[in-house]
């Protein structure tokens, strides 16, 4: 099983060519254990900007407000104005300066990021304990607080990716040649 040093180094050096070829990289121990996507589901929590990954369920701002006041306001302020933690609503125009505070309303390009981050990371001391309906409701509430949707709009896997964020076109890709 053991290769001579020179042979081994040559294989290491040739690594990139191996990858370019369609053959699999046979010089590894192949110790990855096959797993089905359904067994990864609990970890597979990212939501893409086109809505891929959004779960079933729905919510509205009215429901979101109740949850927000119980679980979020203590850190982010009663109306999302900020407190010991960042503001979730409002914000100055970005033309005010390069150090303008970023908020969902003045900066975030995709509404899907609100769902993704709230579900994976919040509330701070109990991340990933909110139900999907609660996350849809909180997302709707944060969008209402930022004057992006109306109170009656229902957020679900179809409507959320359709939300057009005010700063959607506010970005310049820094290294286009390295960005697919």
């Amino acid at each position: 099983m053991f290769m001579r040093n020179a042979e081994y180094l040559a294989i290491l050096a040739a690594g990139l060519f191996f990858l370019a070829s369609t053959n699999s990289y046979t010089q590894t121990p192949n110790l990855g254990m096959p797993i089905d996507e359904q067994d990864i589901a609990a970890w597979d929590i990212d939501i893409l900007p086109d809505g891929t990954g959004l779960p079933l369920g729905q919510g509205t701002a009215g429901e979101g407000k109740i949850i927000y006041e119980q679980k979020c306001a203590v850190c982010h302020g009663v109306n999302g104005e900020g407190g010991i933690s960042p503001a979730l609503a409002g914000g100055d125009p970005l033309s005010n300066g390069i150090d303008t505070g970023k908020t969902i309303g003045n900066f975030w390009p995709y509404a899907t990021t609100i769902f993704d981050y709230t579900r994976r990371a919040m509330p701070w001391f109990a991340p990933r304990t909110l139900t999907d309906n609660e996350v849809y409701s909180l997302t709707a509430y944060l969008l209402v607080l930022n004057d992006i949707i109306n109170e009656e709009v229902v957020m679900n896997a179809n409507t959320l990716p359709e939300v057009r964020m005010p700063n959607r076109d506010g970005f310049i890709v820094r290294f286009p040649e390295r960005t697919p």
Binding site: Y25, Q27, T28, I35, I40, A121, V173, R178
Partner: protein, 438 residues
Amino acid sequence: MNKKDSTRVWKDLGPAAENGLFDRRAFFKGGSVLAAAITGYTIAKPLQAQTLSDDPWSGSAGTPSGPYETRSRFENDVVRTMTNPNGEPRSQQSRTPHHMLDGTFTPNGLHFVISRSGSPDIDPEQHRLVIHGLVKQPLVFTLESLMRYPMVSRMHFVECGGNSAPMWSPEPLDADVQGLHGYVSCAEWSGVMLSTLLEEAGIDPTAKWLIAEGSDSLALHRSIPLSKALDDAMIALYQNGEKLMPGNGYPMRLLVPGWEGNMNVKWLRRIELLDQPAMSIYEARTYAPILPGGKAYQFYFLQEVKSFITRPSPGLSMNGQGLYEISGVAYSANGRISKVLVSADGGQTWAEAALQEPVLSKAFTRFRIPWQWDGGPAVLQSRAWDEAGHVQPTRSEIVAARGEASRVPSLNGFPSQHYNGPTSWQIDQAGEVKHVYA
């Protein structure tokens, strides 16, 4: 060696720039002669040597060396400065004390750490890394299985996109090199090339991106172009020869050499191949610096060429006229450092510094240059070039293109990111060193 000898060595080579900078080869030519003549920064020079006698610590057997060596108690003040030592619910930063270190490797206990919510206490036997998404066969790896793979060891710096953020202040902050540039460090990382594992899972031709995700409480994730993953990304398991420190991702982290620190995802547990970026909070919001006028840069991947002088620097005051070594670090995401120039007169004249070998790609390169301080005012600066031809822009070039903060920030604030201009240290006649803009 007496002073006369060393004087002759550097005089032979002659000054290379105004205000006392000598030719970088003075050290090589002078060798130990010159090195011995260099005055320490904080050591007072006695008027005359004392009579030597046996030292108290030599009189009996010393302390046995323990199972894991700890440094001398006299070095206990060489520490990181912390922004959130009690782990309040907000991000936490620990800065590398560059002015107390030399060489190019950052000791593991002093490597900078930024974490959003602290280090998870991961049991390496329970930890899993899953690779899935646009692959032929989703796979799970244990740490034990990864240890069986061919490994590589590479020297690379890791730098937070927000390092040097105080330099965006409209007025120079009264800070030392640790406060200004403490969110960059360099280590030898050992681990398995990510390309090896991706190839084993089988890359679907429609895959263009991947996300890397950690098992910290916020499940931090970042999108990374597949091309970078196949180029030089590594699943790092070791840091300077020992297993990763918890703050640096124990038991495994992604290393994307030269790219924004936050993309080097720690406590790595999941990689998913995608046809689009995920627009995680960190790429959509946090690491997207606002430009003058209100647009913002997105996908600011590279930590471009930068250098700063670590000695002398604030806190390391001069101790009388004489010969000193100016020393610092330079690094670039675009490969090796090709040249570092140093000025002692605020950027009017420049001399080329010596680069400590080996000069490695996307790693710290230490530069050194002899300097005769005549006791007068001086402003020290360094400016680095990389092998791709990029040079550190001047501060005014950066401000013209990227603006500056609308008000003076606190040292812990992050008014913007990716500042890579020069840093100026002003030396007054008392030998005190201060951060200025020049």
